[in-house]
Amino acid sequence: MNPVWRSQLLTIVRLELKRNFLRVRGLWVYLLAFAPTVIIALHAITSHGRCNLEEDTNIFAGIFQLFTLRLAIFFGCMGIFTRMFRGEMMEKSLHYYFLTPVRRELLVLGKYIAGVIAAICIFGSSVLIGFAFINGHFGSEGTNFVFHGPGLGQLGSYLLVTVLACIGYGALFLLMGLMFRNPIIPAVVILLWESVDNVLPALLKKFSVIFYLLPLCPVEVPVQGISGLFTVIAEPLPSYLSIPGLLCVSVLLLVWASRKIRVLEINYGTD
């Protein structure tokens, strides 16, 4: 990489990381990420041996798939990534970047990398701590499960899914922030789309991020209730396809975002 580009990229990442982690307005992302961790911690403290490891493993899987993945990471990435351009337009500070000799594509890349690092740190640590709590209160049984059983593998899978979710949703919401003046409305549409993924026909499922992520989760959460009636079973993608598939889609979204930013005008009055 051109040394000037590298230096500029590192500067953008440094500036954006500072903003992502220390922004007071971003406090809700931490609350969203660590809400299940707090609940799991309270459960671990108050259970006093009344539950078993298998049951708690399933509970953790349910929390991860239904809350962390579908809501916390989704909304967290929305907050982090749509703000990157749209937020700066609102704060009337984006022109400072545009008036420097930084290629706009490099700006997209730098902001994206900083966003992905921030999202992975926040949600990854939430998953890690939650996993430690849910297994930790079983003492030696939990230690055996983690270090001599499937536990460590499960943790690796949860972290992999978290990383991929941050990469996928990050690219999607970065583009949304460049395409829409109010990204909330398309975000709600995407949320609905992702929520009804299980009842979508097999072909349409492929157009959702969750379709690529769920098969990578180590513990299956059974679909219960009325939605179970409408669930369409689709052949899950093997990980050697779903992981590169998601990465390719993310790259395409970033290329699209780079094309959008090349023609973006600073016109705060109308934004």
Binding site: S93, P101, R104, V263
Partner: protein, 316 residues
Amino acid sequence: MMNTDQLIVFENVSKFYGDVLGVNRVNLAIGPGVTSLVGPNGSGKTTLMNLMTGLIFPTKGRMRVLGLSPQDPERFFRLVGYCTQFDSFPRGVTGREFIYDSLRLFGLNHDDAVRRTQESIDRVSMNEAADRKIAGYSKGMRQRMRLAQSISHHPRVLVLDEPLNGLDPMARAESMALFSSLGKEGMHLIISSHILHEVDRISDQVLLLNSGYVVAEGQIHGVRDEVKDQPMQIMVRCSNPNLLAAKLFAHDHIVEAKVTPDKKGLFVRTRDAGSFYTLLHEIVLEGSLELEAVAPADDDVNSVYQYLIGTEGANV
């Protein structure tokens, strides 16, 4: 004739915001020195500046700054600095951090960025407040810090949108001196301002805009000469203004000749300044009066503004 690589060139540039006109069919070639953009609110000054710095793109036409296009940001923005009218900053930064971070984006290493940051802070006399959060600055301090940021990378073209807004008289005088010295250093300095008498003092040329059109451009004296329908106003200080008035009235091009209240000067309005000066020369040679001073009374931006655009905003 100056090479286009030394000029800011607009070739038939138009900018529309949907159906709303920003600027229309602008053809310009701006050379080094101080150029003032003057015009009422909504005349297209900021649009022209935003086009010049690549923050917006022309709907039609082509624009080049020193031969470069904003589509080539890596070279373009090393030459161009822009102090916008937007009174906003990245959140939570100090003045020093604001400039330092900007310089790092120019690819400067830490030491060079620190040195240049200090240099630009010194240039706008903001040393004492530089390490405080910008959120606590007054409007004038924020203005000066934005100015410092825009000059920190030593641009050859500096675009300043209302740079005197919010400044107290002392800071205003310092800024004017800074602009003047930058212009003398050979920089292209493009300034928009409502404070016409101050603009007048430092401008090498003026660009008058109204409703999205360039209505006049060039050196202020030349622009004034082109306003044929408004008689030229000239103040003459002499030993016998009554006699001078009597001699002048015999000529058709003299519209008005009024003795000043102190009886030591004559205010003249003439349709033909050239003939007036020849006539004055002849009268003085006759030896009937002694001349102390002769000066145009409306050969300034304010007067030209009033003649071409109207009185609104002219004396702001």
